[in-house]
């Protein structure tokens, strides 16, 4: 470790993994290429390719030689059903993306508000902190699927005139509330990781507690947790499918409908591929961003 205070701000170690990497010089990773291609050259590359091919060959042989494979192939990988199910599932998936996008508007803001509420100091703010603690404790404590059911079926049943009654609205609300609770905790870990001395020097300038938070602490805190936030986004993208239990015709629901009509499961494969088409690039991007961020930080410490 660098000796504390040398630059006035220590590198923030939110994960233990980054400790292990500290000694190595930062390496630039390209978007897709695994590090062994950079490091050890062609020989390592050939070994990797050969072992991958052998592995896939063995796995494929095992699957294809299993006694039930022909039945499974017809039920899950039927090209005709694939084509037949695709339009409905795709239309449903568009709704997934809409719900995903809408919750992405709500969650970062709501979570930040909760995290800041919880980080306020002084006895006067006790009720504010209490509300924030209750919010995170309760919403993180309930399984998301239960929350979707409770809000999606429960609130519309109350018939409160002022509130919208749509299943979509309440499904979205359940997703957003639950993810806001988790995201608030991520923000809070970022706030806590900003050295106390930063708060002191902001307060010493005569800034109020709120100004110190707004101008000195939060910008650093958010930057600390961007990789963690992006992982949450990946997971949110998939969890949108949970609103299907409210009967909302998103991708999984459409796939189910097709299955119950035809007794063929290929529609699930369609849905799976659609989710992967979003989540794999997203995951790759998060990995790339995280390693780039780490490299930049270790350079900044030189």
């Amino acid at each position: 470790m660098a000796q504390p205070g040398r630059l006035g701000h220590e590198p923030l170690q939110l994960t233990s993994a980054s400790d292990a990497d500290e000694e190595r010089p930062p390496q630039r990773r390209s978007f897709l290429a695994p590090s062994f291609l950079d490091d050890e050259g062609a020989k390592a590359g050939i070994i990797a390719v050969v072992s991958t091919v052998v592995f896939i060959a063995i796995a494929t042989a095992l699957v294809l030689s299993s006694p039930n494979w022909p039945r499974v192939r017809d039920q899950f990988f039927n090209p005709d059903d694939f084509v037949a199910a695709a339009p409905d599932v795709l239309r449903g998936f568009w709704l997934n993306l809409e719900l995903f996008a809408l919750s992405m508007l709500v969650i970062p803001v709501l979570a930040l508000v909760v995290a800041v509420m919880r980080s306020l100091r002084g006895p006067a703010f006790f009720p504010v902190r209490l509300i924030a603690v209750l919010f995170t404790d309760i919403l993180r404590g309930v399984p998301l699927i239960l929350l979707v059911l409770l809000l999606g079926f429960g609130v519309p049943a109350l018939q409160i005139g002022l509130l919208p009654n749509g299943a979509q609205f309440w499904g979205l609300a359940a997703l957003s509330l639950s993810y806001s609770a988790y995201t608030a905790e991520i923000y809070r870990s970022g706030i806590d990781a900003v050295p106390e001395s930063q708060r002191s020097s902001a307060r010493a300038l005569g800034l109020t507690q709120w100004q110190a938070m707004r101008y000195a602490i939060l910008p650093q805190a958010v930057r600390n947790v961007v990789p963690a936030l992006m992982n949450t986004v990946v997971s949110l993208q998939k969890d949108v499918a949970l609103v299907s239990i409210l009967g909302i015709r998103e991708a999984v629901r459409e796939a189910q409908i097709y299955t119950s009509r035809t007794f063929n499961y290929t529609s699930y494969i369609v849905a799976t591929l659609l989710f992967l088409a979003i989540s794999i690039p997203l995951t790759r991007f998060v990995d790339w961003y995280t390693s780039r961020d780490r490299a930049q930080r270790s350079q900044a410490q030189v």
Partner: protein
Amino acid sequence: MSSHPKLQLHNVHKAYGAKPVLRGIDLVVDEHEVVCLIGPSGCGKSTLLRCVDLLDPIDDGEIRLDGSVISTRGVDANAVRRRIGIVFQSFNLFPHMTVMDNVTLGPRRAHGMPKHDAEERAAALLDRFGLGDKADEYPNRISGGQNQRAAIVRAMMGDPEILLLDEVTSALDPELVGEVLSAIRDLADRGLTMMLATHEMGFARDVANRVCFLHEGQVLEQGPPAELFANPAEERTQQFLQRVVQAGRL
């Protein structure tokens, strides 16, 4: 000219948990005076400065600025802090802001100074402290000495009535100490009231009107530097100064 001393501490007590750090500090700093706090690590120098800037509340006693008590509840701490400047050992510039944004943050947000005025004032001060070309740099791109000078500029931006300096050269490489000390000397020459905790005895002897030796949370002995360094009255002071001389720091 006010009739009160700039800063008065009377019987100030402060404990962190069960550990007493300040145990009845009595101290007066007059306007235009430069007071150096010396003493072994853990004697309470830094805590004393933090308490004066109301960054830590005191447990007992009182602190007066220009004659009015600032250490009681109900005092607008932000307003008090705007009248006091403090510089920390480890600079504590905000790493996500340029030097210019660091030094103008306080005036713009706490004093409500328009951006243009704040930047004009900042440019003049940065120039004076040899940082005219560093305004757009980020703290991690400039040296420790430059960081610390920028931190001094940041503290000076609010035109403080008293400047508190907490071992501002302790985290610096030896060759960078001089530039920071000469910046402080420049401020002392201009008549700024200062209270500084320091291990630089040579500098204390040079720049201070008065040196206070702190021991276990109390002011054990104080006097003009020439006197205190030459003929310390207390045995503890003698021992401390002897160790400093042996370490080659005086």
